[in-house]
């Protein structure tokens, strides 16, 4: 992740999922979309919600709650789809809400504690404590797998 960030700071997008805040580097974000019609694709893993028409491009959608085995909830006004890209894959992530873009100093990123909520540790690159907020940093390649 260091290759695209300034030596000391990292710019991330923070979003809400249940009561926790997650983040990944902002350079991996293509756009943030409001909820739109998702076409279910049969025969795929459960966390793949389906595909959407993103301005003429058929884009797959991952439900992050399902991906992280969190309890499901009805989508509401706050629900957002963050279109994220990693290598040659573009995928939309359904999140409870997109919060803001933050600069966090590399120095405050700590390795993940042994247990962070119910999310399995494999997609987590670290945690950052910023004032009163605790951001969980995600590794998108692992999330997509």
């Amino acid at each position: 992740m260091s290759e695209t960030t300034a030596p000391s700071m990292i710019k991330v997008i923070a979003f809400q999922l249940m009561d926790k805040e997650y983040a990944f580097p902002v350079h991996q974000v293509r756009s943030i979309e409001k909820l739109m019609h998702i076409t279910r694709v049969p025969g795929t893993v459960p966390f793949i919600k389906g595909v959407i028409n993103l301005r003429g491009v058929v884009t797959p959608i991952i439900d992050l709650r399902k991906r992280f085995s969190l309890p499901e909830e009805e989508y509401d006004e706050q629900t957002r789809i963050i279109i994220a890209a990693s290598s040659d894959i573009e995928v939309g992530l359904v999140v409870d809400g997109a919060n803001d873009v933050l600069d966090i100093p590399n120095s405050i990123i700590e390795p993940q504690p042994d247990i962070v909520g119910s999310v399995e540790a494999e997609y987590i690159t670290g945690v950052a404590k910023l004032e009163k907020r605790l951001l969980i940093l995600l590794n998108l390649e692992r999330v997509f797998k």
């Binding site: 739109m36 019609h37 076409t39 279910r40 694709v41 049969p42 025969g43 795929t44 793949i48 389906g50 595909v51 959407i52 028409n53 003429g56 491009v57 058929v58 884009t59 797959p60 040659d88 894959i89 573009e90 995928v91 997509f144």
Partner: protein, 679 residues
């Protein structure tokens, strides 16, 4: 005036010429005595040499030049056409192709050609050492030239010499531009254009490249071979604006000073001399018809970058989506005027679609034309005698299909040659001609293109196939007993199958034919086999004309919409529930006397169930080859032209879904892959 802007043209034309050389070489191999073919090859090679030299690709020019020398020796009966010589020439063509590809890929076209050049030289020298009978250089006339004059090398001197003998006159035209001339390169171009109408420009000092880059003061010298009068030429040149002076003088050749150089160069120059003579003879003979032909062609076609066509296609796809949307809205509003306009627009965009799709059509020739070489090589490697017969190379298919079809065809042809055609002796013993025939045939039929690969070899041994399939567990005894001949033949397309007793490196690793089948099916096509043991086999490939816009039938399953390609639909039917029969665990219907198994899309696609059961089933009867199935859906929405989109890298290999499309309302609908649903 940059060289770059000609690069594309150069690459295209080089490829054309190389292809022409390839084809003619193959012809030559069959008719080694036919010197007109050699002349054809020569002409292509010569043009290629000229172009590459102009573009500054020295290796390319060098190799072509050496190749020309060999061809020249053939043409002058100094060499006999033998397979060995052709091998070397083919190898040099391979090198040339590699260089052109390199250039096309942005490289500099450099390549180590010394080995092949050596081989060419050896061939050439092996029997062409004697060049004494070739006319000697230049009995010179004292020079009376003005201050403008050009230096000529051996090659050019010979050209001049020969043209004089043919009744042409060679002039040096010194042109001086006005010192305040701004667009010097443009004026130079105009002067050249004028001169080229009068004759053949063989040289300019400074060189053309330098002139184009305006690397000269105000004057330059052009050497022209023509039959026109000197005064006429001068007055024509002077008509070009901003030309200050034009001085014309007849070229006179001084003998070269350095004796050594002369000796050194004599051999090649001599060869060149002869080549030029014949070239000029030919030029004279063919100039008229050739020019008129070129004009006719240039009026009718232009070269368009394929990327632009792709962009056009993409834009049109967007339009198709909006057209769908408009049709939907007008249907809902039911306003007569709107309906009329939308209908008109649909018709027009339909025509537009035909035109755009046609523009993207490419003759299968572009794929077929590499096969003769391949077949020749294979035949030599395997010591078989094979004649490749190509029919319908002009048949056109969409470029997207063309790109994909090459490899499967290569495989099938290799297969036919390796496993199909027997050794000559064996064929003789069977009373067949020694030379085996592989026939490649392409033709249109309806919305499809068919490609047939037919050989007159051993055919397919049914027993052998069956036994093998049984031993490999591809079919069971029971299944085998019920299979038709064609079904048995098609087993060789199953994965893990290879009938050749010994594995050769040509084909027969057992991974081939099933890949062929998968590729063709992924293109929305199908492949079938007909064979007769002992007298050959036919592989028949059916392909859609285009992959980008297809006609589908939209159906609804619960709340979800799916698109079924019209090409695989036979018809739709509504069947009463009590008419559905149970054949063991499978539900079937009796459809026009045939038993058709039912596939419940809501089960296959695990559609969330909401509606209660109805008394009728809506069924889309689809087929794959001879087999049929009835897809049970909730309702039919209608027929529509849609743009095929892929699901992307992330969602590859979704079962029974071949892609997606965007409907008029902006939603994504999935396209059902009927081939996967019929086993």
């Amino acid at each position: 005036m940059e060289v770059n802007q000609y690069l594309e043209v150069f690459i295209d034309e080089s490829k054309d010429h190389l292809q022409a050389v390839n084809e003619n070489l193959l012809l030559l191999e069959k008719n080694p005595e036919d010197l007109t073919i050699v002349n054809e090859i020569f002409r292509s090679a010569h043009t290629l040499k000229g172009m590459s030299a102009t573009m500054g690709y020295e290796d390319l020019a060098n190799l072509t030049h050496k190749m020309e020398n060999v061809l020249d020796a053939i043409r002058n009966h100094k060499l006999q056409v033998t397979a060995d010589i052709l091998d070397v020439v083919f190898a040099s063509i391979d090198d040339l192709e590699a260089m052109v590809h390199d250039i096309a890929a942005g490289g500099n076209g450099k390549r180590d050609v010394s080995v092949i050049v050596d081989r060419l030289l050896k061939i050439e020298n092996g029997e062409t050492g004697n060049s004494a009978d070739v006319p000697e250089q230049a009995d010179s006339v004292p020079s009376v030239g003005p201050s403008y004059h050009a230096e000529y090398d051996e090659f050019e001197r010979t050209v001049i010499q020969q043209s004089k003998e043919q009744g042409f006159t060679c002039y040096e035209i010194g042109v001086e531009l006005r010192s305040d001339c701004v667009l010097k390169a443009a004026r130079v171009f105009m002067v050249f254009e004028v001169l080229e109408k009068s004759g053949e420009v063989i040289k300019s000092t400074p060189s053309t490249e330098q002139l184009e880059e305006e690397q000269f003061d105000d004057r330059f010298v052009v050497t022209l071979i023509t039959q026109e009068l000197a005064e006429d030429i001068v007055s024509k040149v002077k008509k070009v604006s901003e030309v200050e002076h034009a001085i014309i003088s007849e070229v006179s050749l001084k003998p070269l000073n350095k004796e050594e150089e002369l000796v050194e160069k004599r051999e090649t120059a001599a060869a060149l001399a002869e080549e030029e003579v014949t070239l000029y003879e030919k030029a004279e003979a063919t100039e008229e018809p050739k020019q008129s032909k070129q004009q006719a062609v240039s009026n009718k076609t232009i070269r368009v970058n394929i990327e632009r066509l792709d962009i056009l296609m993409n834009l049109f796809e967007e339009l198709v989506i909006d057209r769908g949307r408009l049709e939907q809205i007008s249907g809902e509003l039911n306003n007569p005027e709107l309906n009329e306009t939308v209908e008109r627009m649909s018709r027009i965009s339909g025509d537009l679609q035909t035109i755009i799709l046609n523009m993207r059509m490419v003759p299968v020739e572009t794929v077929f034309n590499r096969f003769p070489r391949m077949v020749r090589q294979l035949a030599r490697d395997l010591n078989k005698k094979i004649n490749l017969d190509i029919v319908g190379a002009e048949t056109e298919i969409d470029r997207t299909v063309i790109d994909e079809i090459g490899d499967p065809l290569v495989h099938l042809i290799r297969n036919a040659i390796d496993h199909g055609i027997e050794m000559p002796a064996e064929r003789k013993a069977k009373g067949k001609p020694e030379e085996g025939t592989v026939k490649l045939k392409a033709y249109h039929s309806g919305n499809h293109v068919f490609i047939e690969i037919e050989d007159d070899g051993v055919g397919i041994n049914k027993e052998k196939v069956l036994n093998k399939a049984l031993s490999k567990g591809i079919v069971t005894e029971d299944q085998a007993a019920a299979m038709s001949d064609n079904q048995i033949y098609e087993l060789i397309l199953a994965s893990g199958f290879s009938t050749a007793d010994t594995i050769s490196d040509i084909s027969g690793r057992g991974v081939g034919l099933d890949v062929v089948k998968t590729t063709i099916e992924s293109l929305g096509g199908s492949i079938s086999i007909e064979a007769a043991e002992g007298s050959g086999s036919v592989f028949l490939i059916q392909l859609p004309l285009t992959l980008s816009i297809i006609s589908v039938m939209l159906v609804e399953v619960e709340k979800e919409k799916y698109a079924v390609p019209l090409s695989s639909i036979i018809e739709t039917a509504i069947v009463k529930k009590q008419d559905v029969l149970n054949a063991h665990t499978q539900q079937v219907i009796d459809f026009r006397g045939k038993i058709v198994p039912l596939v419940f899309l809501e089960q296959v696609f695990e559609v969330p169930k909401e509606n209660k059961e109805e008394d009728f089933y809506s069924i889309v009867i689809v087929r794959k080859g001879d087999k049929m199935a009835g897809l049970v859906v909730d309702s039919f929405i209608g027929q529509q032209e849609v743009v095929l989109k892929s699901l992307g890298n992330y969602l590859s290999n979704v079962f029974a879904i071949s892609g997606a499309t965007i409907l008029g309302d902006g939603q994504v609908a999935l396209i059902v892959d009927c081939n996967a649903l019929i086993k």
